[in-house]
Point group: C2
Chain length 204, copies 2
């Protein structure tokens, strides 16, 4: 299936500013994008990037400066999937579960009320990523009379916005993936303090 | 399968103290325990409670005051599962996936490095919930020569410790379950502010 991977190229991952410079955040978000594209390729799908800016990358790119929901709706041509570019824990097996249900709309909830990945097989569905998008997408599918399935995946529920999300990457992502390799080169390490995990960058 | 559900009855869920009194936190954690036991019953399993204190409840109870890992290891009698009492998003379908893999040890990661549910079919595995337990349990299984499977479930990865976890409950848990019913009676509502979700209790 064709898969659109939205990518915000301008000042990405600001909530990681305590750990990384702007250039480092750009490199990290690019590593995650490359991992997601490669994982989609490995799962047998056909991804393209929907980017706010031109991008030098080995996959098709559509540039659209508009806000996320507008740009995605303009690019939607069902059957099609939308997979976020920062799903650093995604594996081919986890993504297969997104494409498996025979439903008009399939949603993979993100932690915090978001929608980290979806499939639409109907032109009557559109996206709205503002606010608690999982609930909104459920309502939009229902209002459109579309059949709905959800995917119960920890890997797809984990997008990378906060330092704690990097701890999930260190614990669960492919050790040979670009994201883990980049984090290792940046000196990011798992820290366990009083039973809670976080990350540190001792040499930075 | 027999399933041990550890339950800390003393001053539970302290990270929710900003929202609830001690008595309310006790009632909420009891509602979650009852939901988890009922979900395990519905999935065809045989749960008992491993509690720090005597409990008036319609399921078998073993009382053990020792720290969590010690008490669980004393109760383990494989084949057996360990399922945390605060998995308010658990469904029979999600739990079925825990029991499905034909492996000596099956782990369901919790967000934040924990292990929210596991199955052990070998006497050479023991638990260690201190710190990043998912990584430790993986190492313990490996050192024991046990075959290992993991379960990729958003529902099983979500335990309830922080206010943000209650937002997940309001978005994804069974609306007719005891936990959702208790939260509704307590006046807890989903709040969406600047694209992030949280919960409020406007009348408290």
């Amino acid at each position: 299936m064709r898969v659109v991977v939205p990518f915000g190229a301008r000042n990405p991952k600001t909530r990681l500013s305590g750990l990384f410079s702007a250039a480092e955040r750009a490199a990290l978000s690019r590593a995650m994008l490359d991992d997601v594209l490669e994982t989609l390729d490995a799962a047998g799908h056909d991804p393209f990037v929907l980017s706010t800016d031109p991008l030098d990358i080995d996959h098709p790119v559509t540039v659209d400066e508009r806000p996320l929901s507008e740009a995605v709706n303009a690019a939607l041509d069902p059957p099609m999937a939308v997979v976020m570019a920062d799903l650093a824990l995604a594996t081919p097996a986890a993504l297969e579960r997104l494409f498996a249900p025979d439903a008009d709309v399939v949603l993979a909830p993100g932690r915090g009320g978001g929608t980290n990945a979806l499939v639409t097989r109907t032109p009557s569905f559109e996206v709205d990523y503002h606010g608690a998008s999982f609930r909104d997408h459920r309502d939009i599918a229902e209002a459109a009379g579309a059949t709905l399935a959800t995917v119960d995946s920890f890997r797809l529920s984990t997008d990378v916005d906060e330092p704690i999300d990097l701890a999930e990457v260190l614990l669960h992502a492919d050790p040979d993936g670009r994201t883990r390799t980049w984090l290792a080169a940046a000196g990011v390490e798992l820290a366990v303090t009083e039973g809670r995990i976080s990350v540190t960058r001792p040499d930075a």
